[in-house]
């Protein structure tokens, strides 16, 4: 009796003898399907959402801190270690807005070999998009892009007209309590 597996998904393929054995035992057959191929297919159809602890930092100190606000990260691991993730941050009372360019951590390290990876400084891969919300001025609010900053951190780049092309405490507007940002990214992880 032999069970082999397929290359990509690991689907189990029983031989004739194994099928005959399973067929003879209805309960075992049911268990086999539930625990093997069905499980694989279900996992592909609906990858589980996971939360992660986002590290929010800046190039200089002190690092930013949302105070009594919200900082949350969610991701799901897709086939072949692709990661689809989202981060939401809202500054609350007691916030600190850091010093110089912001950094936001990824749930897993980035896999260099799966991306176009330039060695030029400041030229990291574009991994996603973001929105920046000035709660007291809609005209300041804008879209942003997500750029790789290091193996496990990203930075946010601004629209045209900002003296700093990277989001930080006073760019593209002066951040304050109740301001917020949403990030959405997609990359292949080194896991």
């Amino acid at each position: 009796m032999t069970v082999t597996t397929t290359t990509n998904l690991g689907l189990e393929i029983p031989d004739n003898a194994e099928i005959a054995r399973l067929w003879a035992d209805e309960e075992e057959t049911e268990d086999w399907w539930k625990n093997n191929n069905d499980k694989i297919v279900e996992a592909i159809k609906a990858p589980a959402l996971q939360t992660y602890d986002v590290i929010f930092s800046s190039l200089g100190t002190p690092h930013p801190d949302v105070g009594s606000g919200i900082l949350e990260g969610v991701y799901r691991l897709l086939p072949n270690n692709w990661v689809q993730g989202w981060v939401f941050a809202q500054f609350g009372s007691g916030s600190n807005f850091g010093s110089s360019n912001w950094r936001v951590s990824l749930p897993f390290n980035y896999l260099n070999s799966s991306h176009v990876h330039s060695s030029l400084a400041g030229f990291g891969s574009c991994l996603g998009s973001a929105t920046l919300r000035d709660n007291s001025s809609e005209s300041n609010s804008q879209t942003a892009a997500i750029q790789l900053a290091s193996t496990n951190t990203i930075l946010l780049t601004t629209e045209q007209g900002s003296a700093s092309r990277v989001v930080q405490d006073s760019y593209p507007f002066t951040w304050a309590s109740d301001d917020r940002f949403h990030l959405s990214f997609l990359y292949r992880a080194d896991v």
Partner: protein
């Protein structure tokens, strides 16, 4: 004895009269069919950068690098970086386009309808001499095999990525972008 097949993947469905010994072979065929559908490919490619009024050409040390991966059946993610390079860079003229590694599904490209061409990704345009010129850009399907860029309201030079928008492309400027599309 008998089998039928499903319409999309041609999976084999044995009926009640099909002998059990055939099931192993049929099951193996079905598993292999499904498995092949999820085969993973990831590889480099060389996008072609064009301008509707004249093609740009890279300067000394410049590069165009592309890499694509099959995230899901018929779902392709592409990443491109362009470093314009130094001496000898020619920005060309007109609206810029980049070629895709394969043909896109007609439902998403601008050749289906002049006003269509879905937004499929994001780009970062870097003017090496000016932070305030640098900006983000939406990536849009322009034909079944090309993409372009749509700029924010009020961007310098107009709404479409080109030789003078969102700034006048010059030596050592850079762009980094990614997009995801449905394959034909």
């Amino acid at each position: 004895m008998g089998t039928t097949t499903t319409p999309n993947l041609s999976l084999i469905k044995p009926d009640l009269s099909e002998p059990i010994p055939n099931w192993a072979t049929q099951n193996e065929s079905n598993c292999d069919t499904i498995d092949a559908f999820f085969s993973y490919t990831e590889t480099d490619y060389s996008p072609t950068w064009t301008g509707t009024g004249g093609n740009p050409s890279l300067g000394s040390g410049g590069s165009i690098s592309g890499r694509w991966a099959s995230l899901w059946p018929k779902l392709i993610r592409v990443e491109i970086q362009i470093d314009c390079g130094g001496a000898g860079f020619d920005a060309g003229s007109g609206v810029y386009e980049l070629t895709t590694p394969s043909t896109m599904n007609a439902v998403m490209d601008a050749s289906e309808s002049a006003v269509r061409g879905f937004i499929i990704g994001t780009a970062i345009c870097i003017d090496i001499n000016s932070n305030s010129n640098s900006c983000t850009m939406a990536v849009r399907a322009r034909s079944s095999t090309t993409i372009g860029g749509i700029l924010e309201l009020g961007a310098t030079g107009g709404s479409t990525w080109g030789n003078s928008s969102p700034f006048s492309w010059a030596q050592d400027d850079r762009i980094s972008l990614y997009f995801v599309y449905l394959e034909a």
